[in-house]
């Protein structure tokens, strides 16, 4: 049906591109996956890269190299930033940054662990605007400091919430 409409409207001339018929061979390519794994291990060998499932990788890195690794994922590998998950765990405050390589359907989740007594990490807004809101959300929900995050206003909570009101902390409520 859509192809009929596209033909009668001459939409190819107007720039409608239809792609992805049926299966996408590149998506299942073993070589591509091995290639990316090699690049990650070579870039930061000290990190713990865990290939939990074919399309779900978890990469634990030191907080100091976060901007370097995120830049590698966002720019060198060409990932799209999906979102970040903040969590209060016994090991410390964990932030998982989820980067997606869309053409392979691969999600690389980069994990940093911050100490409970002084959770601070560099902001990734230097790489792009897409990081700002989620950092503001993690900042207000967990009380984690993002060095270089210009706008630290409340995103979701009421503006008059007290300073130490962090609903996602285990000590809350």
């Amino acid at each position: 049906m859509a192809d009929e409409v596209i033909k009668t409207q001459n939409l190819e001339k107007n720039g409608a591109y239809i792609g992805g018929k049926g299966f996408c061979l590149q998506r299942d390519s073993e070589i591509e996956f091995k290639n990316i794994e090699g690049q990650c291990r070579e870039f930061y060998p000290e990190g713990e890269l865990n290939l939990v499932r074919k399309r779900r990788w978890y990469w634990e890195i030191a907080a100091e190299v976060l901007v370097k690794v995120a830049d590698f994922c966002f720019n060198t590998l060409g990932c799209r930033f999906s979102t970040a998950t903040g969590e209060d765990t016994p090991r410390g405050f964990t932030i998982l940054y989820h980067f997606s390589i869309d053409r392979l359907g691969l999600l690389i989740s980069v994990r940093v662990i911050l100490p409970h007594d002084d959770p601070q990490v560099d902001s990734l807004t230097v790489l792009g605007q897409g990081f700002e809101w989620i950092e503001r959300e993690i900042h207000e929900m967990l009380g984690i400091g993002f060095r270089g995050l210009g706008d630290t206003r409340h995103l979701l909570l009421p503006d008059d919430s007290p300073e130490d009101y962090h609903p996602y902390r285990r000590s809350f409520g």
């Binding site: 909570l157 009421p158 503006d159 609903p167 809350f172 409520g173």
Partner: protein, 145 residues
């Protein structure tokens, strides 16, 4: 004479003002659905008011959260009394599954007096029409006083 005119005027058209507290939008879309050709409540003389100052009936959807509570109270303060308030959907009536949330400010009738409860998640358009009919009946009684 004026009283009869007022009563007759009310029977002909009812101005509805809709305020969304913190809804998932389902109830709001079903309210808008009432205006589409299938249900078409305009033929009953129900119109959406552009301002609370012209409204007879206030429809509130969604769970009242702490940030939006102020706005709901302000809108209620501006509606000329007597008016009828309808809580549309389970979230406005009781908070539904959000009762445990840290951002929940309490069910709607904790903050403003509610006259009609239209239950459902979301209430079917037929249920909303029934709720509005009850509201009209109540409003008629109120305005008679």
């Amino acid at each position: 004479m004026l009283k009869k005119l007022k009563k007759a005027a009310l029977a002909r058209s009812l101005w509805i003002y809709h305020v969304a507290a913190s809804p998932c939008n389902n109830c709001d879309i079903e309210i808008l659905d009432l205006l589409t050709p299938r249900f078409d409540v305009e033929r009953f003389g129900l119109l959406l008011a552009p301002s609370p100052r012209h409204a007879d009936l206030l429809l509130v959807t969604g769970m009242v959260n702490k940030k939006v509570l102020d706005r709901v109270l302000r809108v209620y303060a501006q509606i000329p009394k007597p008016c009828v308030v309808a809580a549309v959907g389970s979230c406005a009536i009781s908070g539904d599954l959000f009762v445990d949330s840290y951002n929940f400010a309490g069910p709607l009738d904790k903050h403003i007096p509610v006259d009609v409860y239209i239950g459902g998640c979301p209430p079917k358009p037929e249920a909303m029409i029934l709720g509005v009919v009850r509201a009209i009946e109540k409003l008629k009684k109120l305005k008679d006083l």
